[in-house]
């Protein structure tokens, strides 16, 4: 293989990796506040993208995306208030099962609202045929948008969870909800807030990847599985690690693809997930002690 070809494979890896990463970020927010995995995260992405596509018929693209993010944020809040909050004696497992139910509900609702057809947002820069050439290899400018938006989200989220009062309160709820409540944190609203935040970020992610992946009502589940894999790989709760892990998985898949039949790449990513779960449950970038404490 010559250099441009190697770089081209890397770009293919970065393209899918950036999609995995931006999906994974959403998982981390709700996990950070509640300790649960929101399996409806993929549907938040699709709702966001679908709304933006519909709004884009009437308003310019940036406004359409902004409106879609706002509406999806509200939907995220409503989902929490209507479904999650009502559960008495909510164990983590029970809540996770409920999120699976929510994902099915949202998928069916989307089928009725938008029908079964594939749609997509226009490319943010250029069109489907424009490319950026680096070292003799080509990449779609939209991939750079995905990477850029992921970076901005992570750069916003990391300090938010570390340094702001609200962010720290949200994390406290995940660690020990009773203790957080005793400290005067309104834990219910923190959970609602986390659903709103991750729905909003999911919607933004859905809009940014829509030109690349296209958008269909039932795509959420398969996107979410990859995003979930990446979130685990990086270490749940750590958005920066999720981006790193996403790009890594994308690159590994591209590497596998370059040497073996394409069909093997899915198998490889599942094997990696299993290995991580067995040998490093805290994820590649997570701290062992924290995972051990959480397990207690």
């Amino acid at each position: 293989m010559n250099l441009p070809q190697v770089v081209q494979y890397c770009f293919a890896g970065v393209t899918v990796g950036s999609i995995y990463a931006i999906v994974a970020i959403g998982f981390n927010i709700i996990y950070n506040t509640t300790g649960i995995i929101n399996f409806a995260q993929g549907e938040f992405l699709i709702v966001g993208a679908m709304l933006a596509i519909s709004f884009n018929h009437f308003v310019p693209l940036p406004v359409a995306i902004f409106l879609a993010v706002v509406v999806t944020t509200i939907i995220g809040g409503l989902v929490e208030i209507v479904f999650i909050r009502q559960v008495r004696n909510a164990s983590v497992l029970r809540l996770i099962v409920i999120t699976i139910g929510i994902s099915i509900l949202m998928r069916e609702a989307m089928l009725h609202i938008w029908d079964e057809k594939v749609r997509s947002l226009p490319y943010f820069t250029g069109t489907g045929v424009s490319t950026v050439t680096i070292l003799g290899a080509h990449i779609s400018p939209q991939v750079l948008w995905v990477l850029g938006v992921s970076t901005i989200i992570v750069m916003g989220l990391t300090p938010f969870f570390r340094f702001t009062l609200t962010g720290r309160a949200m994390r406290a709820c995940a660690d020990d909800r009773m203790a957080a409540r005793l400290c005067g944190i309104n834990d219910r609203w923190m959970v609602t807030l986390s659903f709103m935040l991750s729905a909003g970020i999911g919607a933004l992610a859905g809009c940014v990847i829509s030109p690349v992946t296209q958008t269909q009502y039932d795509m959420g589940a398969s996107l979410a599985i990859k995003g979930f894999t990446v979130a685990i790989l990086g270490g749940l709760g750590n958005s920066m690690a999720a981006v790193a892990a996403g790009l890594m998985l994308g690159l590994i898949e591209a590497l596998v693809m370059s040497q073996f039949d394409v069909a093997y790449k899915e198998a490889v990513s599942i094997v990696i997930l299993l290995l991580i779960l067995v040998f490093r449950p805290s994820g590649l970038f997570g701290k062992r002690e924290i995972a051990a404490m959480r397990a207690l």
Binding site: E116, R119, G128, S222
Partner: protein, 386 residues
């Protein structure tokens, strides 16, 4: 006393109403039950959606015009969600509980192959809307299909390639029934046409980006790429090829026959060459084309009723019903065996996919001329000219 009288009168009225409804029912001949299994949701929703709408529209029209041999048709539609396992349980339900005369659909080759034997063993006529040749080869006496053969599609593609001097190609297919069957036909017929397949890869049907697999194809210095799939990923192929600078002609299968895929492919879809039935180009066909009138009629009805473009796939369901109705008419009966025999004897029936000439050996009834080579120009389908 007054109350009691009211009660008696009430009961009488109800009884009378019941009698009337029974009489009204008896006057009608029993409806002919026809099952339909379409992938209205799931990966092949772009196929199943128009198929269901078309079948419902056509049945309504037939019933309004007095039905077949004086009997109305009762269409029972099931949504398989593009899952072969669902198709199996739905086929069993239709056969055993609803006792249908025939099943039209399923939409995809994988689903059809899953229920081929079930229908054959229970002697229920199956008219599939899926493309793979395995459906009618080897022939099962009760199983028919309406879309053109994929081997004919491959032959037409290779003809064009020869004319263009293309000798070395890369093949990518989706990893579902349609893609696999097409890949097999391409491999079988390439030698005969003097074409080398330098690389052949299957990708996941839910793939959201194909730059990786296309990079691999690019590494083989091919003269052209053939993509064989019915899933939305096919509009990614054209875009991804341009994005990685793989500037060779792209050939698609007849699964590309939906203007929606062209719209999604955008600018990149221009120049894509693919074989297809004549529905998509009905307006620009010469007036003496025997299919033109039927195609325009179907298109007009569909588009005015559903406010969306008609697609080839809806046409497959149209043909399936057309063939079944013709069979029932010819058999003058709803006996499964008689209708089956009548279908085998249909000759020169003009449908949306082509002109059907069935025989006991040919359960597809279409020839290579059922395909027209099309290409995309400025986001529209036009007839391909060398």
């Amino acid at each position: 006393m007054g109350k009691q009288l009211a009660k008696v009168v009430g009961i009488l009225i109800v009884a009378l109403a019941l009698c009337v409804s029974v009489v009204a029912k008896a006057a009608d001949a029993p409806a002919i039950k026809v099952g339909a299994i379409f992938a209205v949701t799931g990966g092949a929703a772009n196929l199943g959606g128009p198929e269901k709408k078309t079948a419902e529209m056509l049945v309504e029209k037939i019933n309004k015009e007095g039905g077949v041999n004086g009997q109305k048709i009762e269409l029972i539609v099931k949504d398989s969600g593009t899952k072969p396992e669902n198709a199996i349980s739905m086929a069993k339900q239709l056969i055993e509980e609803d006792k249908v005369l025939a099943i039209i659909g399923p939409s995809t080759s994988g689903e059809t192959m899953a229920i081929k034997n079930i229908c054959q063993e229970s002697k229920t006529i199956l008219i599939s809307c899926a493309a793979a040749e395995d459906i009618v080869n080897p022939v099962a006496s009760y199983v028919f299909k309406t879309p053109q053969k994929d081997s004919d599609a491959v032959r037409r593609i290779f003809q064009v390639m020869k004319a263009k001097g293309i000798t070395k190609i890369g093949v990518i297919t989706s990893n579902d029934g349609f893609g696999m069957a097409g890949g097999k036909q391409l491999a079988n017929l390439a030698n005969l046409a003097g074409i080398t397949i330098a690389i052949s890869e299957a990708y996941d049907k839910q793939e959201t980006d194909l730059t990786g697999v296309l990079t691999k194809v690019k590494g083989q210095d091919v003269n052209a790429v053939v993509n064989w799939s019915i899933v939305p990923a096919q509009s990614l192929v054209a875009k991804n090829m341009k994005q990685i600078g793989l500037n060779v002609p792209l050939f698609q299968s007849h699964g590309f026959g939906n203007i929606k895929y062209v719209q999604e492919g955008g600018e990149a879809a221009n120049g894509t060459i693919f074989p297809c039935g004549r529905l998509l180009i009905a307006e620009i066909l010469p007036d003496n084309n025997p299919q033109k009138k039927l195609l325009l009629g179907y298109k007009k009805d569909y588009e005015s009723q559903y406010k969306e473009d008609a697609s080839t796939f809806g046409g497959h369901a149209y043909d399936a019903l057309l063939i079944l109705v013709e069979g029932i008419k010819k058999a003058k009966s709803t006996d499964k065996e008689k209708v089956r025999e009548a279908i085998e004897n249909i000759k020169g029936l003009v449908g949306t996919a082509g002109i059907f000439n069935f025989s006991s050996q040919d359960h597809n009834g279409l020839g290579m001329d059922a395909f027209e080579m099309l290409t995309v120009k400025d986001g529209k389908f036009v007839i391909y000219k060398n």
